[in-house]
């Protein structure tokens, strides 16, 4: 095989790792060398993106029907199990590769401006580079264990970056919460891996998917269990019910981190996993229904919470959970390319939204810094009317808002519509999918509403920022607004990636992913008129949401956060996230802590292990010694008595 650019795939993760090492050394030795760190940090990402482009172009030229696997070294040869450290280049992984490196580069660039004054600048870029390395290992891995290495690694980096400002205990706790909830999901992933090896005898993707149809019974308990355990991993990593509560807390990290990890890339790893294993999920219709159902339910649930959040980043966090729900609805329905399409467009507009909010927060921070105020720079009740100070940001955020609401011809419309029509299509055959479709539709309405709400409260209406701060509010520097611009363009025109054939598009992504995903067979079953009807309904819902928010919400009635009144009634329930955290705390955390303290610590550790085993062994030895002491008194009478006892024993043995 001739050397092509595809062979250089290893460069992509390697460059990111190199960035981590160099920045790590710098963070320890020369933390103030900010320019060098920026050059290295951003440079390796851009270089990775260039490599990704090269690999992609080369791969297109190969017209490969099979994945191209590169084995680098033998990692775990154990009996019948042979796991190599191997990377796989195929249609699915190249798409993810481009998204991760591309959006990643933009966010790295944004971070140069955003984190400019932070003392942990070098450490930040080191962690960010490490994250990209692990994310690339995740998407490029050729087997479940290699993917799992990336899976765990991004969890680690998430923990490091969420708790980046760890001197504040709340941030450290948020990092811990994320990591621990992820671990619960990881348990599911591991069990699924064990079961996969048990049934198919291998852990390489190529081999597993080749053997699965014969090794496992379609619709049987084995495959359903495997896929459900895999999905458990996804609920942890991608913040679905029931393991989603870590994501809103993760907003404690720097905003570019929220953009990269908790919007564009890490949280989409779960969707990628389902897409990668689409063959397995197709063999387990019950599990697929669970995936789609949980996705749809999470989408709606998170959207309701977003309606009443005041922290701008929290609104976006719940929005992310909601949109991830859409993605799972897509891949659960079997419309893999629809789900992946939404993943891509979501990366564009959600990163844009987060970075834009980052610009807003940055501006408010600087203003408060000037006036030495301690107001919350992230609370929307302290914002308002920012459009006149930050026109570029406002415009770009509106593009993203319209995209996420699903207004044509922006990218979000195409991806969301793809998912909803797939759900409806399957619903004509299996009615439960109509329920999912309905949930998705209501969520679309709420999405439009709360995003418009965000825009109104932040950028329009009267300004609630203090009189003294207002003169200091202005647009972020170009190093931050530049990436926003690029993302804005992508959010706007990204739809071209998969224009449906209904409107004479070429459905590029659908066709590109064909070699690696099973066809969504009922796809071409809808009549044209039904399709147009569905599109019409979706657009109408979006418009109703936007207009409704515009008419119903009264930004003039808002007061700054410090003097805002408490919510009452149902609004209060939404504001407090349906009290899910409190329920988890009462049902799970407290009993666990109580059990650990009262039982495991006091009883098992202190009494049983320390007391009985350790001290008890010592006491036993001393007792034995003490007992034996009485045999060696030096008193003849004692010796005689023992002598007689011995004789008696012998006599007894002889007689019986």
């Amino acid at each position: 095989m001739t050397e092509t650019a595809v062979d250089q795939i290893w460069l992509a993760p390697a460059l990111a790792l190199l960035g981590f090492v160099l920045n790590g050394v710098l963070s320890l030795a020369r933390p103030r060398a900010k320019t060098l760190v920026s050059v290295i940090g951003v440079g390796v990402l851009v270089a990775s993106f260039v490599v990704a482009l090269g690999v992609f172009r080369s791969f297109v030229g190969l017209h490969a029907e099979e994945p191209v696997v590169f084995r680098y070294w033998s990692w775990m040869p154990v009996g019948t199990l042979q796991v190599d450290f191997a990377l796989q280049v195929d249609q699915l992984s190249t798409v993810m590769l481009l998204v991760v490196t591309g959006v990643g580069s933009l966010i790295h660039l944004f971070s140069v401006g955003y984190m400019k004054d932070d003392p942990g600048y070098a450490r930040y870029f080191a962690y960010l580079n490490l994250f990209v390395f692990f994310m690339l290992v995740l998407v490029l891995g050729a087997s479940f264990p290699v993917m799992f290495v990336g899976w765990e690694g991004v969890g680690l980096c998430s923990y490091l970056l969420i708790g980046f400002w760890f001197s504040d205990e709340a941030n450290a706790n948020a990092g811990r919460k994320a990591f621990i909830m992820n671990r619960i999901g990881d348990f599911g992933f591991m069990v699924a891996m064990f079961m996969i090896f048990w049934s198919t005898g291998s852990l390489d993707f190529v081999t597993v998917f080749a053997h699965a149809p014969t090794a496992l019974v379609a619709g049987g308990t084995s495959i359903t269990a495997i896929t459900l355990f895999l999905f458990l991993g996804c609920t942890g990593k991608s913040a679905q019910i029931p393991l989603y509560t870590w994501l809103p807390d993760a907003m404690a990290g720097p905003t570019p981190v929220s953009a990269l990890i908790h919007a564009a890339t890490m949280v989409t790893a779960g969707v990628y996993l389902v897409a990668r294993c689409n063959l397995l999920f197709a063999m387990a219709p019950v599990a697929s229904a669970v995936v789609a159902g949980v996705g749809a339910l999470t989408a709606l649930f998170a959207a309701t919470i977003a309606l009443k959040q005041w922290d701008i980043k929290k609104v976006l966090a719940y929005s992310t959970i909601s949109q991830l729900g859409y993605m799972f609805l897509g891949v659960g329905t079997g419309a893999i390319s629809a789900g992946m399409f939404h993943l891509i467009t979501h990366a564009f507009f959600k990163a844009l939204l987060f970075l834009g909010s980052g610009s807003v927060i940055y501006a408010l921070h600087r203003a408060y810094h000037h006036t030495h105020s301690h107001e919350d720079a992230q609370d929307m009740r302290n914002m308002g009317g920012l459009a006149r100070y930050m026109p570029w940001t406002t415009a770009l955020m509106w593009i993203a808002t319209l995209a996420i609401a699903g207004v044509p011809p922006l990218s979000g419309f195409f991806s969301k519509d793809g998912i909803l029509s797939a759900a409806f299509l399957r619903g004509t055959v299996q009615p439960v999918w109509l329920v999912f479709w309905a949930l998705g539709l209501v969520t679309a309405l709420l999405t439009a509403f709360y995003m418009t709400r965000l825009m109104i409260y932040t950028f329009h209406g009267p300004s609630r920022t203090g009189e003294q701060e207002q003169p200091h509010l202005h647009e972020a520097p170009w190093i931050m607004t530049g990436p926003l611009l690029v993302l804005g363009v992508l959010s706007a025109v990204g739809g071209v990636l998969n224009v449906p054939e209904l409107i004479r598009g070429n459905a590029w992504l659908d066709r590109w992913l064909e070699p690696v995903v099973l066809p969504f067979s009922p796809h071409y079953g809808l009549s044209n008129s039904t399709e147009w009807l569905l599109i019409g309904i979706a657009v109408a819902v979006a418009v109703v949401g936007i207009v409704g928010a515009w008419r119903l919400l009264k930004p003039q009635q808002l007061v700054p956060a410090r003097s805002a009144p408490e919510e009452r009634g149902f609004a209060r329930v939404l504001r407090n996230k349906w009290y899910v955290d409190e329920i988890y705390d009462a049902l799970i955390v407290r009993p666990l802590v109580w059990f650990s303290r009262e039982v495991l610590w006091k009883q098992v550790d202190q009494r049983a292990i320390d007391g009985a085993a350790v001290n008890g062994a010592a006491r036993g030895a001393r007792a034995l010694g003490w007992a034996n002491r009485w045999l060696q008194t030096g008193q003849v009478g004692m010796y005689v008595a023992v002598f007689v006892v011995g004789v008696l024993l012998l006599l007894w043995r002889a007689m019986s």
Binding site: G637, A641, V644, V645, L648, L651, W652, M655
Partner: protein
Amino acid sequence: MTSTIFWTFGILAMLSALLCITRKNPVASALWLVVTLFSIAALFVLLDAQFLAVLQVLVYAGAIMVLFLFVIMLLNLGRPGPSDIKGPLGLGVAVLLGAALLFLLQPLTRTTLPSAITLPPGSVPALQQQQGIVGSVANPLFGAYLIPFEIASVLLLAAIVGAVVLAKRKL
């Protein structure tokens, strides 16, 4: 008739043994032991071991017990001292062990020897009739058991030497 005499002396032996072990005065203990030895000698006679009965009186009661009394007197232990029987704990343990021992030994009192190895009854008196009372002991002693006999004499020599050496004040 024989039975009565036998039991008389038997009970006498047991009683005097009991008294022997319970006297405070060592001399009294020694004297009761002499009584026991005499009783046992009588029992020997009833069991057709007349030579041994005489030996018992001569050697055991006449020499060994005399030696005991000599030593007691030498050490000036003639007077009854404070009771040297052990306290309640020792007593309890001893009684327990004694009872256990008796319990283990009492099957002996009911055994019958297998007929394959026993001699016909009355064979010992017949033998004594033939060879004489002393002769019936002397013949095996100087016949089959000659070597143990010689060794016994060496043993006695060793004992003499040992006793002299051990009891000397200065070696």
